[in-house]
Amino acid sequence: MARVLALAEAVEAIVRDGDSVAMEGFTHLIPHAAGHEIIRQGRKHLTLIRMTPDILYDQLIGMGCADKLVFSWGGNPGVGSLYRLRDAVENGWPHRLEIEEHSHAAMANAYEAGAAGLPFAVLRGYIGTDLPDVNPKIRRVTCPYTGEVLATVPAHRPDVAIIHALKADREGNVLLAGILGVQKEAVLAARRALVTVEEVVDDFGPRSLNACILPSWTVAAIAVVPGGAFPSYAQGYYRRFNAFYKEWDGIARERATFLAWMKENVLAKTPDAFATHVRAAGGGVTS
């Protein structure tokens, strides 16, 4: 059963140094508040897993939390580079970062295999690309029925999955809607899951009969953090703050401006800052 905890307590209880951690979110519902708490608590030697590492992973990498990144696309969507990721890969700052690089299709399949309790995922992929030359985990298997040669990757089984969802009910069930990404698969593939939510409600009320709900017993801890995905968004609560993604380009380009920003906006703040950010950005815009 999910325990409802303050975010700091939840991270303290769930995330350990050296863990493999998947903080998922495909543009939507990125768990920024939880990531900031990990930075504040000074977690080290993490293996960060995510299809689309963006600003949040740039911050974790730049602050030295990660030893390794498993990913398929590492950029600032629609803007350009992640300069902290690049600095780590190109110059080893703040320390060397090992990378394990995949395609989106392989990452999505690897989460699904993890959720399904399988040892590996199979896909018709990686044909004619150089990726298998630089990632020895990408291998091939021959279909026993047709003889077709297909690509395989090991299942993702992260120690911890962290996601941001729209709401939890009093029993600790968690509801997602909108762009779902791979969050359900990440939670079901992980040994422990931490979910931040916009709010807790007595009952989810009228909803689609096929709503995406993670039952309470699949989640270890829930923390209520309104605005916790900002500057990503929460469908129906607030929109993606695209202006900040553009601003990040300037902040992250140099080490000094990055560190100053992190000190002021992460290290010196608490999770309550997220609700303030959303209000400052125009409030709880619903859609």
Binding site: T52, R124, G125, R239
Partner: protein
């Protein structure tokens, strides 16, 4: 006479014209997204646009900054999970056109979006493949949109992220790939299509006012031309107006807080 459109507008409009009303298009962010939505807002209102975030048949009013802006989900017919998107819709063979861009391209339209320089000690670490490696082989055909430059149009790629025509000829077939691969490359200067035999990307149409010398100067291999080279029709007034309105709406939306 100064043309009343930019090379970028010429490129986007030319790419948009290649899309048909009945196409099901897997759309990349940036220029592919601008071209695909321009097609939808002009000659191809029934076109199906799919973004890898899971949004099926989306009709955004403004261009998304990211592949998963709320706008895409709110205007979609439905939104599926990302594993479903890659497994059922892309790998399942439901997409007719994949629309890609890249940092580097070679004469067989193989693309690099991974690194400039060596992989282990890159000069520039690029974002990586994302969906492209499987888009390149699973979609019925591939359109590529890229501004031409010596830096981007190179003799040899530093890294092959996604397969075009490989080393040319029947290379795709030898790899067991059943789809057509890149059938059209639209740049700010001209249109390339693969030679039917060698599969080398060959200029079939040159944009108004552009010279062959200009094309060669911006290409890192010796450019080949088809027997008959057309002049690309310039942007029409309606196409330009719709594209500019789209960009104006987008700039307004992204500049604001909400």
């Amino acid at each position: 006479m100064t043309p009343d459109y930019t090379p970028n507008e010429m490129m986007t409009i030319t790419a948009a014209r290649a899309l048909k009303n009945e196409d099901v298009v897997f759309v990349g962010i940036g220029m592919p997204s601008a071209a695909a939505n321009l097609a939808r807002l002009t000659h191809a209102p029934g076109i199906t646009l799919i973004y890898e975030s899971g949004t099926l048949a989306t009709r955004p009013t403004v261009l998304p900054l990211s592949i998963g802006d709320g706008e895409l989900c709110e205007t979609a017919l439905t939104t599926v999970s990302v594993p479903e998107m890659f497994r059922y819709w892309l790998q399942g063979g439901r997409i007719s056109v994949g629309f890609l861009g890249g940092a580097q391209i070679d004469k067989f339209a193989n693309l690099n979006t991974t690194v400039v320089g060596s992989y282990d000690k890159p000069k520039v670490r690029l974002p990586g493949g994302g969906g492209a490696p499987e888009i390149a082989t699973s979609c019925g055909e591939i359109f590529i949109i890229m501004a031409q430059s010596r830096r981007g149009f190179v003799g040899k790629l530093d890294f092959v992220t996604s397969l075009g025509h490989g080393e040319g000829g029947k290379h795709r077939e030898r790899l067991g790939v059943k789809t057509k691969g890149p059938t059209r490359l639209v740049t700010d200067l001209c249109i390339f299509e693969p030679d039917p035999e060698s599969r080398e990307m060959t200029v079939v149409s040159i944009h108004p006012g552009v010279t062959r010398a200009q094309i060669q100067d911006n290409t890192g291999w010796t450019v080949r031309y088809a027997a008959k080279v057309a002049e690309t029709p310039p942007p029409g007034a309606h196409e330009l107006a719709v594209l500019r309105q789209l960009h104006a709406r987008t700039a307004k939306a992204h500049g604001q807080a909400a």
